[in-house]
């Protein structure tokens, strides 16, 4: 079954954890955008949601850091952060070990993927899913791309990974919704937290919506770090979704810089039905 949904969204912990510090006029539209994304995904009747996130040293550390990792379990617990700090109660999300196994087996034909039969969700996955599957009733396939511990996954490999995700999704009968989470420019958890390079973000989103591979791969880490912070490294998840969308063009459903959330809050998706599967 071809991929039924491909989109991206922010995952900053402040979106839930510091919601009480934001003005309602700032916070409410962000949460409403996530609710619309939930409805859009629900309308595609997915059997599972694959969440491609940039993990933050919750499961993977520099003692053994994979470029790509995929969960292969029947359940996942979270959040690993203090539930009060993140403002997300402890949960157990369903997985689908068999589906993960089939997807990983297919992907391994073209990319080297680590798999994990245990995975504690951090905010990179928990924040979006707290909006998108608030009852934790949709099987999740967690995916990580190394956006945190240099040397980072090269951008062109993130693209190849996205292509492999698409081939794998197309090879199974289940209906899979794919979301990439993270970015865009931000300086999370640093003295520059709250800084957002809106011009850089809008230029990136323009490239993302056009699904312009050359333009999306035309970044280097030093420039990204200088202009978009270490949070900008998370464009890898967005790029992988672009590759998985296989030529579809996209629409930004919501973009608004919210400094107290430390990111330009983003919801966007690709129109998959405009290209042949």
């Amino acid at each position: 079954m071809p991929l039924v949904y491909a989109g991206v969204c922010s995952h900053a912990p402040g979106i839930t954890g510091r919601a009480h510090l934001a003005e309602p006029a700032q916070c409410d539209p962000v949460h409403a955008a996530f609710e619309q994304m939930r409805l859009d995904i629900e309308a595609t009747k997915p059997d599972a949601i694959m969440v491609m996130a940039a993990e933050h040293f919750a499961n993977f550390f520099m003692n053994n850091m994979p470029s790509f990792a995929i969960g292969m379990a029947d359940f996942y617990d979270g959040p690993i952060e203090d539930p009060d700090w993140l403002n997300i109660a402890k949960f157990r999300a369903p997985g689908n070990r068999d589906l993960s196994h089939r997807l990983i087996t297919e992907m391994m034909n073209s990319v080297d993927v680590a798999y994990a039969e245990e995975w504690l969700f951090d905010h990179g996955i928990a924040v979006p899913l707290s909006f998108l599957t608030p009852d934790w009733d949709l099987p999740v396939i967690p995916v990580n791309i190394n956006c945190q511990g240099p040397p980072l996954t090269p951008l062109h490999r993130a693209w190849a990974f996205g292509e492999a995700v698409r081939r794998a999704a197309d090879s199974v009968p289940e209906r899979i919704a794919l979301i990439g989470t993270g970015g865009i420019s931000h300086w999370p958890a640093t003295p520059d937290s709250g800084k957002i390079n809106e011009a850089w973000d809008r230029d990136f989103l323009d490239r993302w919506c056009r699904n312009d591979k050359d333009a999306l791969l035309d970044y280097d880490d030093l420039t990204v770090y200088a202009d978009a912070g270490q949070g900008g490294f998370e464009i890898r998840t967005f790029l992988a979704v672009s590759a998985a969308a296989r030529g579809a063009t996209g629409t930004v459903r919501f973009f608004e810089p919210v400094p107290i959330f430390a990111v330009g809050c983003t919801v966007a998706d690709y129109q998959l039905d405009e290209v042949a599967p």
Binding site: A189, D192, N197, L222
Partner: protein, 115 residues
């Protein structure tokens, strides 16, 4: 410099209720198994959030250690700024890639680039 082991201790204490309990009762014993310099050990025991940032600890690890110590978000950010002021630029790790310019200079440069 043994940034890897500083971060490894923080990674493990962030995940482990047992290590958190040990740290609460005997901080020196909790950090003892890790290959640390005296400066790193002292920063973890105090804790000196600003020093840990300057040593190069990734904020995605450090912010949870600050939360563990009940340090509010705004205070956490300020303690890192104070650390840069007191101890100088970040010495190692991802934030040392291009040299840390300081918040104001960095913001000004980005705004100039956007014009």
């Amino acid at each position: 410099m043994s940034l890897y082991y500083v971060q490894k201790f923080l990674f493990e204490i962030n995940r482990s209720p047992g290590l958190q309990e040990q740290y609460r009762t005997d901080r020196r014993a909790a950090v003892a198994p890790y290959e640390l310099t005296d400066e790193e050990r002292a920063a973890l025991i105090e804790p000196d959030i600003g020093k840990l940032f300057v040593l190069g600890v990734n904020g995605q690890i450090l912010m949870h250690f600050a939360a563990f110590h009940q340090i509010e978000w705004a205070d956490y950010l300020q303690q890192m700024r104070d650390g840069v002021e007191a101890y100088g630029p970040v010495r190692e790790g991802v934030y040392a890639i291009t040299g840390y310019e300081g918040t104001d200079a960095h913001t000004a440069r980005i705004r100039k680039g956007a014009d």
